[in-house]
Amino acid sequence: MLVFVIAGVILWPSFQLYVLFPRQEKALKERLSRATTFEDSQAVRMEINEFNQRKGALYEKRIVHLGLDLVGGMHVVLDVDRSQLSEEEARRAPDLALEVIRNRIDQFGVFEPTIQKTDRGRILVQLPGVDRERALNIIKQPAHLTFNLVEEKAKVYDALKTIDERLQAKGGVPATVDSTVSQPLDTTMKEEAVPGTLLSYLRSEGDELDLLIYAKDTANFRAVLEQGKEFWPQGYEFAYGPVETMDNDKVVRVYLIKSEPELVGTRLRRAEPAIYQGAELERANTWVVNFELDREGAAKFATVTGRNVGRRLAIVLDGVVRSAPRIQERIPNGRGQITMYDRRGDKAKDLSIVLNSGALPAPVVVVEERSIGASLGADAIRRGLIAAAVGALVVVLFMLIYYGVGGLLADFALVANIFLLLAVLAALRATLTLPGLAGIALTIGMAVDANVLVFERIREELRAGKTPMAAVDTGYARALVTIIDANATTIITALALYFIGSGPVRGFAITLGVGLVINVLTAVFLTRFIFDWFLAQFEVKTLRI
């Protein structure tokens, strides 16, 4: 009896989380959508905040966690690319990367993320219910920030022209380039541009500050540029901006920047998203990231900006030129701004997270990924539960019909089984996965086995002419050995499965193993106890099972 009370107490938080909270959450969201005035919606938002805090607190308690295959979310295993690191750096890299990724994810705001080191220095990240692309961006962004001086548009154009000429002198336009891809719309600037040359890819736009190419041409453009690498201006390299939308075209800016950055590896003190406040109309209402360098960085920044007033300085993040503002005056306080072309604010927020939590020691690559969309997970839960319920119901009915009173007892044991199994899973903070759900369903089927063994034995003993009391006694005694032997082998396989260790299968192994142990216990003690009580209470003379 006490066992069930304890089990009930253990299961309460899980019940709150999965049964009560979703309803409250839905109600709150509905109220938010109905709220008409700003004050109303603010009030509801406060309540939602508080609700989320209570929900977060529940995750700290012992609950049954739902696996990613049920709630949706991503599971990635990352490997740190150690090829460019020294031995000492390579040894520390996984820990550093883990730390950085943990910091970033903490700011990202996910309920119960898993971030841990696994074998061979790999990092396992599990994020329930997040948008895959955003999460991947945050995790994988190396966050290497440099400040490089930028050449003016005319000089970039000249450099490209020179490379074209030299390449043509060497043997014409490289044959590997697919020159049919795109024809420039406007040819005023380069009437003489031969298709396939660098200049032919340029989208001319007289009053733009930079040279532009169409985003879809980037690969071709890069390929030609790489072939002419020997003709690049000494000490400079080409760089690109992010993809932008301009007059319904997707375009990319081409920059020529100094290879040697003016400022490198600078730790930021702070970065935060903000709404653009400047004068450019087209950027009104877009988000930017304001940053502030630490003291050392600010001093260097002041020197660089002081020395280069009037020139443009590119803010380069992970090789992409985020923006290239002209230095108007010396900037003494180490403050700057990265423009984002972002109307929703997500990108600015994510970039701030990445900048705030520092750079990865080395690039990370995804070596394994299993992401499940939320709707697929919900579907899996719903159908899994229906299947388990139908299966259980059929078993329950069958036992009732087949064994009568004994069947009722077995059914009671079955329900007790599932209840206790869930409680133990909650106490272990185990994760319930889709195969785990199947494991529970399977335990339902097998749960009655021990009772079947016992009942069949009792039937035999009754046939042999024993009194009910004696029959029950011998039945249990004889069946016990068999029950233990039979379940021991399945528990051995559950242990073996546990060692395979991949998430869903491990969940299955745990539910199966725990389920079997509980099975044996309920069959041997619980039903025995009730049986004896029943026989003594009603002084049963003849037993029919």
Binding site: E368, S371, G373
Partner: protein, 301 residues
Amino acid sequence: MKLFGDTNIPFVPKRRFFFLISACLVVVSVLLIVFKGFHYGVDFTGGGLVQVRFSAPVKIDAVRAALTAMGEGGASIQQTETGDFLIRVKPSAKSGDESGFSSRLRQQFAVSFPNIPFEVLRDEAVGPRISKELQSKVLIAVLIGLIGILIYVSFRFDFRFGTGAALALIHDTLIILGFCALFNREITTTLIAAILTLIGYSVNDSIVVSDRIREAVKKIRKESFPDIVNRAVNDTLSRTVITALTTLFVTIALLILASAEIRDFAFALTVGIVVGTYSSIFVVANLVVEWEQKFPTRRRR
């Protein structure tokens, strides 16, 4: 209610017949495995799998065109009964970032189907090294499981039963794998989990029968060994079938009602329970009898 009264079905006397059936099943299964082969999941082959659901019907040719446009013309495309597309690619030749395919696919689909919103239901990507590691892990787990069971059964019973149970296991596993090959079920870690579970289940059944034989051998001295075994199998028949039935109720419910991801798993379980039950009734005890006839041991006192 009773399904079986006092049965006296001649399982043991007719054992040659059942051996023949089992032999045929095993041979056919092995042939299927060797010649038809398995359809391995991403877990084992490495590579990527993306499941996409469009909000409006999309032709499979259009999906193929989109994939060709992104340079993945070799991808395999499969449409599920719910209209989702399962797109599989082989592992990239150079070991690199495995999340790339899905990201590029999302971008390409957004371009190719600008007016049809889609949702990516599932991404799986496994690098070649990980899939190799998983293969060896699974192999080790299966070996640990098998050896563990063999040791336990040999220890609790004797070597004859241990061997009988182990042979029955190999018999069951081969037949399940044969069915998986026949019905093109995908071999994934989850399926391996199902097979390992079945191994446990099948031994479970065999043990109940063996237990009965052991008990009967101690009690009854007059009858011949085959007769005792036949009696033991008949005595446990009711329990064996009922346990199989109750478990089957659940696995069949899973097979019919649960989502597609669990269906291969439920399929293997269903087949496995039928085969496992068959083998514990018709194979294990008969193997022990056969052994006893060839190499009689003195009856224990």
